[in-house]
Symmetry: C2
Subunit: 453 residues, 2 copies
């Protein structure tokens, strides 16, 4: 027996404010640009897509933003989430490292996504919006928004990447149980979808295409808005409850992280955990290495360029300065659906360019091996996305075994795999392949970047 397993906070210790890292950075991130004028977009440009409260949060200069009571009331269904000490994994690895994981799988849909879905639905409902549209890949985000819309009485319409729609029917069933309508993307319901289908009738879709469809539908109806599950500043803002809680829980544990690892698709899980720790680091109160882990099959930070690009495939969004593989990039149908996005949060990209975090890309078989190892030791089967963070965590723990260092590692376990078990089946059945991503393929996609700005 080796001390405490979980570090729990009382409901009364749940954060009451979100943390906005932008004022604490040495310089602000470059603004989104209007694709026509190449000028920074203003609130009016975004009004067809987002409610005023979220537009204000997107550009806020305040360091802290109050979490509305109504949102806190829903957060309390699962927050504060637990911080675990992974005693059993440590023993299985024989490492002197101390491994902690912050577990977001306790939420209604089993991931960190409701942390932002709930406030997004709340602000939309408060401003009289009656329906939200969105895209989803593996379905974590779509089910989070479906849940949040059920709570605040909004309609919810989801375009799900067809590859996932077909392979992971349980996510669709979860969204429908919460009352949402789900379409496979590309669909024939939108101009964007029909354009893709005309050229590629068998298209299995991409997040970029699904975003185009959801954006198009929202823009066409004055009572409908669009909700995005990652990438944007306000989304990362909402996720900082993860890191704020983890800071308090490390105080309970009497420990301080030396290395923080999280997986990155659009960046919200990683930013949510990392930003409050980065604040402490910028203030000189701690000095952890902070590391983003992405799939080798979709390596926007490690192999993409830092440039203005569209957030979606059809080019309907503002131009975002970010690490991108090009908005036409279609990643291999790897099993970590939430990490298959051509771009990266502009805020996180900026922080990476400032040298405040590092990044690494890992192959998926190594990630699933880490996932199985973790499951058999700790009892939780990790979602495919956080297996990337766990694989890096295992690498770091095994380096400590070599050197004898007693490093403290914190990893973001952003969800469980209950609805992604076929991916584990593929891994255990030996059907999972690590595709090489040829340089030419990246170059081809990058050639389609919008004209230099």
């Amino acid at each position: 027996m080796s001390g405490r397993t979980k570090f729990l906070l009382d409901e009364s210790e749940m954060p009451t404010q979100w943390y906005n890292i932008i004022p604490d950075l040495p310089e602000p991130p470059p603004p989104p640009l209007h694709p026509g004028t190449k000028q920074p977009v203003g609130p009016d440009d975004l009004a067809p897509l987002f409610p005023q409260a979220l537009i204000a949060q997107e550009v806020s200069g305040e360091s802290y933003i109050d979490i509305p009571d109504e949102v806190q009331d829903v957060y309390r269904l699962w927050r504060p989430s637990p911080l675990y000490r992974a005693h059993r994994l440590e023993r299985a690895l024989g490492t002197p490292a101390r491994i902690y994981y912050k577990y977001e799988g306790v939420s209604p849909v089993g991931s960190h996504k409701p942390n932002t879905a709930v406030p997004q639905a709340f602000y939309n409902a408060r401003e009289g919006v009656t329906k939200l549209t969105t895209e989803t890949g593996a379905g974590q985000w779509g089910s989070a928004l479906a849940f949040a819309c059920a709570v605040f009485g909004l309609e919810c319409e989801v375009w799900q990447v067809r590859a996932s729609y077909d392979q992971k029917p349980y996510r669709k069933l979860m969204m429908e149980t919460f009352g949402a309508t789900v379409h496979p993307s590309p669909s024939d319901l939108t101009v964007s979808g029909r354009a893709v289908l005309a050229e590629h009738p068998d298209s299995t879709g991409s997040l970029g295409i699904a975003i185009s469809e959801a954006v198009e539908m929202a823009a066409a109806d004055p009572d409908t808005r669009y909700a995005l599950g990652s990438v944007l500043n306000h989304v990362l803002l909402h996720q900082t409850v993860i890191g704020e809680e983890a800071l308090k829980q490390f105080e309970l544990a009497g420990d301080t992280p030396d290395v923080i690892v999280g997986c990155t698709g659009g960046g919200s899980n990683f930013g949510g955990l990392a930003f409050p720790f980065l604040r402490e680091k910028l203030a000189g109160r701690m000095s952890p290495a902070i590391r983003a882990v992405e799939p080798a099959a979709c390596p926007s930070l490690t192999r993409g360029v830092y440039a203005y690009d569209f957030g979606d495939t059809a080019g309907l969004t503002p131009l975002l300065k970010m690490h991108t593989l090009g908005h036409g990039f279609i990643p291999d149908p790897i099993h970590a659906g939430g990490l298959r996005y051509h771009g990266m949060s502009p805020l996180l990209s900026h922080i990476y360019e400032l040298g405040l975090i590092d990044a690494v890309a890992l192959p998926q078989q190594e990630c699933f091996a880490a996932g199985v190892r973790f499951a058999r030791a700790e009892g939780i089967i990790p979602a495919p996305e956080p297996t990337h963070a766990l694989a890096e965590c295992v690498r770091e723990a095994l380096r400590c075994k070599e050197t004898g260092e007693e490093k403290v590692i914190l990893t973001a376990l952003c969800g469980h795999a209950h609805l992604d078990l076929p991916a584990y089946g593929a891994y255990l059945g030996g059907e999972m392949i690590d595709h090489d991503l040829p340089e030419e393929e990246i170059e081809r996609a990058l050639a389609e970047l919008p004209a230099s700005t």
Copy 2:
């Protein structure tokens, strides 16, 4: 905002003893009998199937049994489990009742089953057993035992009722991720399975048949034992951690339950929550009504007889005095797989005969309607089994709405539905049917009861 949502206990408040209700009952339950001699079975009769420690617990006269440190260490991965006040469901129902639910879905496999799987695997490993066999229906029990075997380094072989094996592939994937081997039952690996297949080549199986197969395999190998996920005294004993925690949590809440409802298949979830409260009731310290809820399609308590019967279909087990529909009864393939058992825990049956609890049988559509209502209010999609308890909870809350009574209702939410979502799909798609269970069908199965004892 309406006060606390969750009542959490610290790890240090986790129960360190299981509660054995038998010494507190006005009379002990009738013993299991050897099917040949019709005499009470002794430890030697059970030794081929169970380790000595569990056989001792099965017949123990002690009121409290210490939980080994190694078991507590694993329990701490998810225990103490939360008690919730269902504020949002109360508001949705407009009831003056106060509704609480004890949530066991936080466990590694999403149900209460690991509470007994972990000690069963521990005691077997300590006595040198290298492999456990078991049966499973929907798969909650099989995945719990697979997890527990992974923790203590045992092999695990599971016979899963074919109807569930085919319809719910995710559970099989979970068991395999934890390292278990899974066979559909009836299988051609056992005499019992081959006998069924010879007569019914398309058999979709039953828990009774799967038990026969697992028991047969365990009895044939001296290093293998069998593990049962419900029904027996030691299983209900292990589950009392649920009720012991809930008692402490009600103290935190400053409330006392007037009605306790739980679903019953074999009886372990219900007994686990109810027995510590029943102890308090027998001692005159509180006076809740305690109600078992079973499916109308498999109503062992409400329409079965109280008689000695086999626990399995092939007649390999001792004879158990219990409420039974007859060991040849094959229930409709309803969607609450864990409640499709012909019998009922002998201990719980005895307590029912003593008049200490009551029981009701509900149709499955009403149960799923309650499940959807609960999910949209509270965020957790309940497993099909506990929707039965929730449906009764809704009935009780609506009665309070009529009468204005502010009853305190406690319900056992023994698991989530992540791996049972196709059942919700069937309900939402209008494909779920409430079958009537004709009296003749029950009479036919009861005619096969073993000769009167």
